[in-house]
Amino acid sequence: MKISWSGKSKTRGFRLPGFGISMGITWLYISIILLLPSAGLFLKASEVSFDEFWKAVFSLRALKSYQISFSLSLLSALVNTIMGFIVAWVLVRYRVPFSGLFDALIDLPFALPTAVAGVSLTWLYGPNGWIGRHLESIGIKVVHTPLGIIIALIFVSFPFAVRTVIPVLKEMDLEVEECARCLGARRWQIFLKIIFPTVFPALLTGFTLSFARALGEYGSVIFISGNQPFKTEIAPLLVAIKLEEYEYTACASIAVFLMTVSLLILIFLNILESFSKGER
């Protein structure tokens, strides 16, 4: 059978108009903006011999930067998932004064450009800043240390953890909890056996999104981290540095590696989504 590209399949009687044009615009745009550069990246990387690729992707400096990026992103995503759940819980279940304001605060990191967040956090936790001043006096250094990176990552990726959990908590059927109460369950049992399993997929999605965002973050981190190789150099920064030093092969190799990671995360997110949809 011939596959018809115009989309006018014979079995379907009626389609709203605009199929051809909307399909055309969509795929054209995606091809030029997204697929072409991606293909270019993989093409560029394929010019590199396997040895070179291996050397670039798994050089000591690169490995260290992955380690820093992954571990700090994991840590900040973990903090965000826990705190995000608590914040979502408080905002949905309890009556808090100014709850509308706090709800708006959650999205603040979306509204603050990353460069601004970076500069602001660096000052805030620096020796003259409101918070850094007090931390320094008790001997805690934040700026130019991994701790600073974590704080920046927490800031930029926090909304993801909360925004995925809030709708699930809001939609939760109170009857189900009442039912568990009638069956004799204690508060902690209702939480562990009813609420937590229901929210878990959303928590996992929030964690993954938060992690993905933290892994790719650049703007806010470069200000606060100090960018010392082997200590506070994150993977995206390494890509930028290699590019600036015109080491295109190394740069392409590391970029391909990071691209693969984000594709894997994307696939994982889609599996998660179809899984939680299927359960309903």
Partner: protein, 289 residues
């Protein structure tokens, strides 16, 4: 007595529950204030540290004006393109059944999970002189990387899904019945779109535009890689902030930051306003910068 004991027991329990709620609320609110709110507060309090005249002077500098013009120039090109793509893509995804729909929707998420630096790098590797398409660019006599077109393409890359992602849930919720009814009444495609679909998605579209503007103006990572930092030519507002910071002009950096924060805060306020009057559907989640 047994009953008295029971009563005081239940009162104690009630107190414990209240205390638990209070501590949890306090924890949540103080986290929000310390980790999320103080950076914003710091921007505004530092910007006016050297007085209003310094603030205005910073905004009137030649570099600031040129950065602002550049940023607005990028916005003027990127925004209409994204609106056209957003509407077309949402229409395509929600009104028809086709193979590869899930793949397409997943692709819309790629700019969110990919580091903007990698995005910028991809463009450099593609369009620079040594890049895959470098010869095409050169033979056309254009310059893309380290020039205005590069900034536009980089911004497009990181912002293209915003409007589509905003519209898809709204249009999915509404279904196609109204459009089909319009078709039965003899409306043309143009009529259906402008008279039936658009009035119903206008708030979603509007908010998508707001998000897109905020991100366009604030984009740093991707733009920083393709810009080449040529003074007066490829320095956008966020890049200018970085330069000021590196020149130890912290207050100046904060002054420019207030402009960007303004756009961001405006988008937040608009979102609250739109949502409170329930003009857009509640989203699953949304990405931004």
């Amino acid at each position: 007595m047994r009953i008295v004991a029971q009563l005081s027991n239940s009162r104690k329990k009630k107190f414990l529950i209240l205390a638990f709620r209070f501590i949890l609320s306090l924890l949540a609110c103080s986290f929000l204030v310390i980790f999320i709110f103080t950076p914003l507060l710091a921007v505004f309090s530092n910007a006016f540290q050297k007085g209003v005249s310094f603030y205005l002077e910073m905004l009137k500098r030649e570099e600031t004006i040129s950065a602002l013009t550049l940023t607005l120039g990028i916005l003027i090109i990127v925004l209409p393109l994204n609106v056209i793509f957003g509407v077309a893509c949402a229409w395509y995804v929600t009104k028809y059944q086709f193979r590869g729909k899930r793949f397409l929707v997943a692709l819309l998420d790629l700019p969110f999970t990919l580091s903007p630096v990698v995005a910028g790098t991809m463009l450099v590797l593609l369009y620079s002189v040594n890049g895959v398409l470098g010869w095409v660019v050169e033979s056309l006599g254009m310059k893309i990387i380290f020039a205005f077109p590069g900034l536009v393409i980089a911004t497009l890359f990181v912002t293209f899904p915003f409007i589509a992602r905003e519209l898809i849930p709204v249009m999915e919720e509404q279904g196609s019945e109204m459009e089909e009814a319009g078709r039965m009444l003899g409306a043309s495609g143009r009529h259906i779109f402008f008279r039936i679909t658009l009035p119903n998605i206008k708030w979603g579209l509007f908010y998508g535009v707001v998000l897109c503007v905020a991100r366009c103006v604030g984009e740093f990572g991707a733009v920083s890689v393709v810009s080449g930092h040529i003074r007066g030519k490829t320095i956008t507002l966020p890049l200018e902030i970085e330069i000021l910071y590196n020149e130890y002009n912290l207050v100046g950096a904060f002054c420019l930051a207030t402009v960007l924060c303004g756009t961001g805060l405006l988008s937040l306020i608009l979102r609250k306003w739109i949502e409170s009057s329930e003009k857009v559907s509640k989203r699953r989640y949304f990405f931004g910068d």
